[in-house]
């Protein structure tokens, strides 16, 4: 379980504390108790249901628009300067 959690942390760009890991592990173990009966449900000839209501392809007119300016979009940026989002230098 520890290896699994370490991998999942890494792929999700997270670093958990030991207490958090214990909580996550407890949750995984609790749901796992229900999985044997879940696995026994016969779904062999059942189609997966992605959408719960009937949907047809939704298209709109292919018209360009620019609802927001760069300044608008950067109003919520943690750090931005001269129209760019700032991050630490990527290439030395």
């Amino acid at each position: 379980m520890q290896d699994l959690l370490d991998t999942l942390e890494k792929v999700n760009q997270l670093a958990l504390t030991q207490d958090e890991k214990a909580s996550v592990q407890a949750y995984f173990e609790r749901v796992a108790q229900d999985l044997p009966s879940f696995a026994e449900v016969d779904t062999q000839n059942v189609t997966p249901m992605v959408y719960v209501m009937p949907l047809s392809n939704v298209l709109r007119e292919d018209e360009s628009s620019q609802p927001f300016t760069r300044d608008d979009l950067q109003k919520g940026a943690p750090e931005a300067e001269d129209g760019y989002w700032e991050v630490p230098r990527l290439i030395e």
Partner: protein
């Protein structure tokens, strides 16, 4: 409690509040998360635009982080203390259902696709539904009629002619209760229904018990994807003192997300991994169809299915407790079927039956 009160209602009969999952351009939307604590949207959600035409939006109510928690108790408090007409909120994992049942409020979770999801903070897109909580069914009906409607901006929005059918009222004369779903307030609700001449049938809905695990799998998978965009770069929280881009991602997400959110993210990526995709994610999509087909068939024989809204246990707020309580709410979450919470229980109907369910709940 109330997160931001713009103003005291000037005309109480038109005052409504939104929950903090609905984007508003003139006040922050934080989704109950440190990740978005200072975030203000550039646009209003469609429901905000619809309400603003004739109602006064007086503020927003707080939610648990990404509304994944046990209760929507701020909505209840807002109704009780702020003298507003109703709260418009996003039901994603049963919080509104449980809170309405425990507080004696009425809540309508309409059929998926009848109210636009444009401008919501997404959690589990295939189940997230905008609903209305109020003191009575009449108000739920009134506010639902305002926010319902087709929206080109939401790809899952139903055609207007379908949505209109949700206003039709068919009397509820037969109600099913389901074996294995013992919970709060069932006996008194059955008595109230019988007093209205409703016939009660007990059915063996074993497949409904599987909705809990299936919805845990599907909702975590969708949530995991929906929050992958929060990286501390473009908007939202950024940790201090980061030296590399990886630092920004990891520290920002780790500092800003709470434990239950991290749990859902990890579980979501677990069920989507190549080892588990077929036996968990794909399997859950198939179980979803079985649950829906079972309910569709049952609802040709009865007019509504009554389910408890919660157990009789004291409700804790951790992820495991929410998982346990989702036994009751997952059937509606995973199928998109409409539910009205009244008299402390859920009344679930066939697609677009919310008008009938609300009319019925007025008699209880």
């Amino acid at each position: 409690m109330i997160y931001t009160t713009k103003k005291e209602p000037t005309y109480q009969q038109k005052a409504v509040a939104l929950d903090d999952m609905i984007l508003t351009k003139d006040s922050p939307t934080s989704a109950g998360s440190k990740m978005l604590e200072n975030f203000t949207s550039l646009f209003d959600g469609t429901v905000v635009e619809k309400l603003a035409e004739n109602y006064e939006i007086v503020g927003k109510v707080t939610v648990s982080e990404f509304s994944r928690g046990m209760l929507a108790d701020s909505a209840v408090a807002a109704l009780d203390e702020k003298q507003i007409k109703g709260v418009i909120g996003v039901e994603t994992n049963g919080a509104y259902t449980r809170s309405a049942a425990l507080s004696g409020k009425v809540f309508v979770k309409p059929t998926y696709g009848t109210v636009s999801r444009f401008g919501l903070i997404p959690v589990a897109c295939s189940g997230d539904t905008v609903g209305v909580m109020a003191d009575n069914a009449e108000t739920c009906e009134e506010l639902l009629s305002v926010i319902a409607g087709h929206d080109d901006k939401d790809g899952t929005s139903l055609p207007q002619e379908m949505i209109e059918k949700a206003k039709e009222v068919t009397p509820v004369k037969k109600v099913a209760i389901v074996k294995g779903f013992d919970g709060a307030a069932v006996e008194s609700a059955v008595e109230k229904a019988r007093a209205q001449g409703v016939e009660i049938f007990e059915v063996d809905g074993e497949i409904l018990l599987q909705a809990k695990a299936a919805w845990a799998i599907l909702s975590s998978a969708e949530f995991c994807n929906n929050v992958s965009k929060y990286d501390g770069v473009k908007y939202g929280y950024r940790a201090k003192g980061c030296r590399t881009i990886e630092d920004i991602y990891v520290k920002s997400r780790s500092e800003a997300f709470g434990t239950d959110v991290k749990t859902a993210i990890l579980y979501g990526s677990h069920v989507l991994s190549s080892d588990n995709y077929e036996k968990m994610y794909d399997k859950a999509l198939r179980v979803r169809r079985l649950v829906r087909e079972y309910l569709d068939d049952l609802l040709t024989k009865v007019d509504a299915v009554m389910l408890p809204a919660c157990s009789t246990a004291n409700l804790s707020v951790n992820a495991i407790s929410v998982y346990e309580e989702s036994l009751y709410t997952a059937p509606a979450s995973i199928t998109g079927l409409p539910v009205v919470v009244a008299s402390g229980v859920q009344w679930l109907g066939k697609p677009l039956a919310e008008g009938s369910l609300l009319a019925f709940s007025k008699q209880l």
